[in-house]
């Protein structure tokens, strides 16, 4: 399915979440076990915290939003702009 090369999902963290996780990004191998945004989080960190926000390819997403090879998935706490 990936023509012999390792295809990954890039995971980014922002703000307090980046400090809690202790790094700003992860790379996750895109496998059959990783179908949704929630799968990406659970595979790395276990159960998602309350009020976790997410984006896929820089558009707002939910934990049940599907993910695919090469996607950029971001996790962040509630936003506080304005």
């Amino acid at each position: 399915m990936c023509r012999g090369r390792q295809v990954t999902i890039t995971v980014l963290y922002f703000a307090r979440l980046r400090e809690d996780v202790g790094r700003e990004r992860d790379e996750v191998a895109s496998t059959g076990d990783v179908q949704t945004v929630g799968d990406v989080w659970r595979g790395l960190h276990g159960e998602p915290p309350a009020r976790l926000m997410a984006a896929v390819n820089q558009a707002h997403a939910r934990l049940d939003t599907p993910v695919a090879d090469g996607d950029e998935v971001a996790f962040f706490p509630p936003v506080t702009g304005g």
């Binding site: 922002f14 703000a15 984006a55 820089q58 962040f76 706490p77 936003v79 506080t80 702009g81 304005g82």
Partner: protein
Amino acid sequence: MAVRLFARPFDPWALVQERERQLPLERLGACSVFAGRMRDFNEDEDVRALFLEHYPGMTERDLERIVAEAETRWPSITCEVAHRVGAVEPAEILVLVAVWSAHRVAARDACSEILERLKHEAPFWKRERLADGTERWVERNTPGQ
């Protein structure tokens, strides 16, 4: 539509005037402007400085989406949105939302809607530095105040 991020202080009134020079003002009877500044207090603490983190790429796209959705709901409006990022000091402008329309209701309602959606959806995060030198992330915006 115009959406801009500024890493340095900006003058919201100059942005409004600059935009007005390009608009058919004879057809735009109303202009509603919201300008938000950094306060030197939050939740009973003195705040000395702020750092506004954002998600480069997504923040711009998300602001454009919010404005585009307002333009779909109120087709007659013209919008200018600007937001600071990075290090900010008290009294500096954080956000500008300006909306022009033929009539007052669309201008006023769209301005309010864009601002509230920006505050609840656009990827910005505030980190405050307090008087004693400690820093903290702002957990939530003051609801509807």
